[in-house]
C-alpha cells in the first residue's frame, strides 16, 4: 500500500506553487477583485502554457494524457493562490464532460482548444434558487435549437462553449447540450457574486444552435457522475485555500503581541489554529482517498466524492472564517487579504452543490453499500 503522491507529482506541485507565487500574487487577485474583472486573461494564458489545462485530456486531443492525481495537485495550488481564472469551469466541468460523453467530432472540435487555453468552457445547471432537480429545469432543446436561461453560470460571460443541462421528457429527465457561445442567439449578462474575483453570468439562449452531448434523456445520470469528479477536484482547491488561510492566521498570530506576549501563545488562539489544522487534515486525507477513487474508478467513487466535498466545505469555511477572527480588526479590512479566502470559500461551498446535498448523497451511498 502506498497512499502518497509520487515524486513526479510532488515536483509538479513545487513547480505549480512556484509559478503561482510568481504569476499569481495576491496583488493580482486584489486587482481583479477591486475592478470586478471576470478573470485575469494573462494568468490563464500562462497556466495554459504550463500545460495545466491539458493535464487529463488525452494526447490525441492535444492534451498531456496524465491522470487525475496530477490534476488534483494543480487544483490545490490554484486554491491556495485564489487564482482568478476559469480553470475549474473549463477543466473540471466542460472538458470532463466532453471527454466522458462527447462524440469524436465534439472531442476534436473542443478538447484541443480547451487543452491549449484558446477556448474557455463552462457548465450551466441552475436556473433559480435551491437544489436543482430535473423537473425544475425549464431550459429545453429540440431539433438542435436551445431556449432558456441559466443563472448563475461560473465564467459564463467569457466562455466559448457551454455544457447546458436541459429538460427531457423521456429518460431520466435531462439532456446535456453542447452550445457554442459565440452565437448572437446567446445573451450574456454579468452577475456579481460574493466573490468579486470570479466572474459569473446569466446565459440566455434565444433559439441558439446546440448539439446533444451524450445520450438524450440520460443527462441527469451524466450530471451526477460529473458532479462526483468535480466534487473531488473542487475539494482540492478548497483544501489549498484552507491551508493557506491557516498559514496566514498562524503567521499573523505569531507576530501579534497582546498583554506582553504573542497572541499565538493564548489557548483561545492556539486551540483555534489547532482546530483548523485538524479539520484541514481530515479534509486532506479524505481528498486523498477521493483522488485515488477518481483515478482508479473505484466502486465507491460516489461516497468518496461526497466525503471529500463535505469535509472540504467544512474545513475551508472554518479556516477562512477563523482566519479573519484571528486577525482581529485588521482582518476585517479591505486592505488585508483575509477577505479573498472568505469570499472564495463561500463561493466554492456552493459551486457544485451545498454541504447538505452532499451529506445526503454521502449517507445514501453508505446505506446502499452497507
Amino acid at each position: 500500500m502506498n497512499f502518497e503522491f509520487s515524486e513526479e507529482q510532488q515536483m509538479l506541485r513545487d513547480q505549480a506553487r512556484n509559478y503561482l507565487t510568481q504569476h499569481c500574487p495576491t496583488t493580482l487577485v486584489r486587482r481583479v477583485l477591486n475592478n470586478r474583472e471576470t478573470h485575469d486573461a494573462d494568468l490563464y494564458k500562462g497556466i495554459a502554457e504550463m500545460g495545466w489545462t491539458a493535464t487529463t485530456i488525452p494526447e490525441e486531443y492535444g492534451g498531456l494524457g496524465m491522470s487525475h492525481l496530477e490534476l488534483v495537485v494543480i487544483a490545490e495550488e490554484l486554491g491556495r493562490a485564489c487564482a482568478p481564472v476559469p480553470f475549474s469551469s473549463t477543466v473540471y466541468l466542460a472538458a470532463e464532460a466532453i471527454m466522458a460523453l462527447g462524440t469524436e467530432a465534439q472531442k476534436q472540435t473542443w478538447l484541443p482548444k480547451l487543452a491549449d487555453g484558446s477556448a474557455i468552457g463552462c457548465f450551466a445547471l441552475g436556473e433559480a434558487g435551491g437544489a436543482v432537480t430535473p423537473d425544475q429545469i425549464s431550459t429545453s432543446m429540440a431539433d438542435g435549437v436551445i431556449n432558456g436561461t441559466k443563472v448563475p453560470v461560473a465564467d459564463g460571460g467569457i466562455a466559448d462553449v457551454a455544457i447546458v443541462v436541459c429538460k427531457s421528457d423521456g429518460g431520466d429527465g435531462a439532456t446535456l447540450a453542447l452550445v457554442d457561445l459565440s452565437q448572437d442567439a446567446v445573451a450574456k449578462d454579468n452577475v456579481q457574486m460574493i466573490d468579486f474575483s470570479r466572474g459569473h453570468a446569466e446565459l440566455t439562449f434565444n433559439g441558439a444552435c446546440a448539439e446533444v452531448l451524450g445520450e438524450e434523456g440520460a443527462g441527469w445520470a451524466a450530471v451526477e457522475s460529473l458532479m462526483n469528479s468535480a466534487a473531488i477536484l473542487f475539494a482540492w482547491e478548497q483544501i489549498g485555500l484552507a491551508d493557506k488561510a491557516l498559514e496566514q492566521a498562524r503567521e499573523y498570530a505569531l507576530g501579534r503581541f497582546a498583554f506582553g506576549r504573542s497572541i499565538a501563545s493564548y489557548q483561545a488562539i492556539k486551540h483555534k489554529l489547532a482546530k483548523m489544522y485538524v479539520k484541514n487534515t481530515l479534509a486532506r486525507s479524505n481528498a486523498y482517498y477521493g483522488a485515488w477513487a477518481l483515478n482508479a474508478g473505484a466502486s465507491d467513487l460516489a461516497v468518496a466524492a461526497a466525503t471529500s466535498r463535505v469535509a472540504a466545505i467544512q474545513a475551508s469555511l472554518f479556516s477562512a472564517e477563523e482566519n479573519i477572527q484571528t486577525h482581529g480588526g485588521m482582518g476585517f479590512t479591505w486592505e488585508f487579504d483575509c477577505q479573498f479566502y472568505y469570499r472564495r470559500a463561500k463561493l466554492l461551498s456552493l459551486a457544485v452543490g451545498s454541504e447538505k446535498q452532499w451529506q445526503g448523497r454521502l449517507v445514501d451511498g453508505l446505506a446502499a453499500s452497507a
Binding site: G126, A258, T333
Partner: protein, 401 residues
C-alpha cells in the same frame, strides 16, 4: 412573571406612542436629506419635546426617566424607521463619562447639545498595536504650559469624520506600568493636526476611521480625571459600551430564514419540511430566543434598579457568530444562487450576504469572541486571569514582538 405593563408603564407607553405617531418625520420632510441630516432633524425634534435622552437630568435636557421607561421608549421608537446610530456613542458612552468626571460648566456647555443632536461625539481609544489589549496604547501627550501636545494614531474610530468632539485616551507616562501612565481628554475634532482617514472594510463600506494626531494641542482643562488616571476614566466609558452595543438586531434572523425555507424547494417539497433544515433552524432559534429572553431578564433587573453586569457580554458573544452561521445557512438554502450578491436579482442578497460579510466585524468590534468569553469566565464565573507578562513592568519595556 408578567409580560404586561403596570398601569403607570402603560400610561407612559401610550404617551410615547402618541407623540411618536404625531411627530416622526414624514417622507416629505426628509426628502432630499441624507441620513445624518434626517438623524439631526429627528433628534432635535425629540429634544425640543423632551423625548431625547429621557434618562438624563432635566437640567441637561432629559426627563429623569426610569430604566424601564427608557426601554419602553426605545421599544416604541423602534417601531419607526428613524436613524439613530450617529448619537449612540456620544449619548451612550461619552455622556456618562462626562457626568462622572467633567466640570459643571462643561456639563452645561456640552450635554444639552449632545442630547439635541447638534453636536456629535466620537471615542478615540483603539490603536493599531493595541487591539484586544486596549491599554497598550502608544499615542502620547506631553505637557506644554497649560496645554498638552498629542502625537500618535488612533484606529476604528466610528464617526470621526462627522464628529464635533471626541474623547481620547493617551499615554502621558511610558515609564510606569501600562495602566498607570494614561490620561483622558476630550478634544475638538476640528483641532489643527487631526487627520481623518476612512478605513474600507471587507464589506466595501467605511464605518470606521484612522485618526492621526500631529502636534494636536488640547487645554489641560479638558482633561477628565487626574493625570495617570486615564484607565479608570476609560472603564466608565467601556462599561457603558457593553450596554450601548448590545446584541444587534439587524441582519438575518430565524424569521427570515423560515420565510426563505418556505419558498425554496428540496426534493420537491418546501425546505421548511426538511428535517435537517428544521434541526438547524431550531438550534438558531434556541440561541435567538434565548438571547431575547435573557435581555428581558436583564430588563426586569434594570427596572428593579440593578446595573447591567458583565453577563451581558453574552449578547454579542452568541449573536455575532449566530449571524454568521445563519447567513451562511440561508445562502446554502438557495444553493449556487445563494452566492449572488446583486439586489436586482435577489431581494434578500443584501441582507443575507451583507450579514455574512458583516458578521466577522461584529465578532471583533467592541471585544472579540475570545475577549467576551474571557470576560464571562473571569468576571461572571470568577476564574483567574491568565498570567500577565506585562504586569508591573514599565510600559516601554513590555515585549511587543
Amino acid at each position: 412573571m408578567d409580560f404586561n405593563d403596570t398601569p403607570e408603564q402603560a400610561a407612559f407607553r401610550a404617551s410615547a406612542a402618541d407623540w411618536l405617531a404625531a411627530n416622526v418625520p414624514t417622507k416629505e420632510e426628509t426628502e432630499g436629506l441624507n441620513r445624518l441630516q434626517v438623524a439631526k432633524l429627528w433628534q432635535k425634534r425629540k429634544y425640543d419635546a423632551g423625548w431625547a435622552c429621557i434618562g438624563w437630568d432635566p437640567a441637561y435636557g432629559g426627563r429623569g426617566a426610569s430604566a424601564i421607561e427608557q426601554v419602553i421608549w426605545k421599544q416604541e421608537e423602534a417601531k419607526y424607521d428613524v436613524p439613530a446610530g450617529f448619537f449612540v456613542i456620544g449619548q451612550g458612552m461619552m455622556a456618562p463619562t462626562l457626568m462622572a468626571y467633567a466640570q459643571p460648566q462643561h456639563l452645561e456647555r456640552y450635554l444639552p447639545k449632545l442630547a439635541s443632536g447638534e453636536e456629535i461625539w466620537c471615542q478615540l481609544f483603539s490603536e493599531p498595536a493595541g487591539g484586544s489589549d486596549l491599554a497598550a496604547l502608544r499615542t502620547k501627550a506631553e505637557k506644554d504650559g497649560d496645554e498638552w501636545v498629542i502625537n500618535g494614531q488612533k484606529i476604528w474610530t466610528s464617526g470621526a469624520h462627522y464628529s464635533d468632539f471626541g474623547c481620547v485616551v493617551v499615554r502621558t507616562d511610558p515609564t510606569v506600568p501600562k495602566h498607570k501612565g494614561l490620561s483622558y481628554f476630550f478634544i475638538d475634532m476640528k483641532s489643527p493636526g487631526i487627520e481623518i482617514k476612512p478605513i474600507k472594510q471587507l464589506t466595501g463600506e467605511s464605518d470606521f476611521n484612522e485618526v492621526y494626531f500631529t502636534d494636536v494641542r488640547v487645554p489641560d482643562s479638558q482633561r477628565l480625571g487626574e493625570v495617570g488616571q486615564g484607565w479608570q476614566v476609560s472603564l466608565t466609558t467601556l462599561m457603558n459600551e457593553r450596554a450601548a452595543i448590545g446584541a444587534g438586531s439587524s441582519g438575518v434572523n430565524v424569521n427570515l430564514a423560515i420565510q426563505l425555507a418556505k419558498e425554496v424547494m428540496i426534493d420537491g417539497k418546501p425546505a421548511i419540511e426538511d428535517s435537517a433544515v428544521k434541526a438547524r433552524l431550531a438550534n438558531f432559534y434556541v440561541e435567538e430566543a434565548g438571547l431575547k429572553f435573557t435581555s428581558y431578564r436583564t430588563l426586569s433587573a434594570l427596572s428593579r434598579g440593578d446595573i447591567p453586569g458583565p453577563e451581558n457580554s453574552i449578547g454579542k458573544l452568541v449573536g455575532a457568530p449566530k449571524m454568521q452561521q445563519l447567513a451562511s445557512f440561508c445562502m446554502d438554502l438557495l444553493e449556487t444562487s445563494g452566492a449572488i450578491w446583486d439586489t436586482s436579482r435577489s431581494k434578500l442578497a443584501d441582507n443575507i450576504i451583507g450579514s455574512y460579510m458583516g458578521a466577522p466585524g461584529l465578532r471583533i468590534a467592541g471585544g472579540t469572541d475570545e475577549i467576551m468569553t474571557n470576560i464571562i469566565a473571569e468576571r461572571v464565573l470568577g476564574l483567574p486571569q491568565e498570567p500577565r507578562m506585562d504586569k508591573g513592568i514599565p510600559f516601554m519595556d513590555v515585549p511587543t514582538g
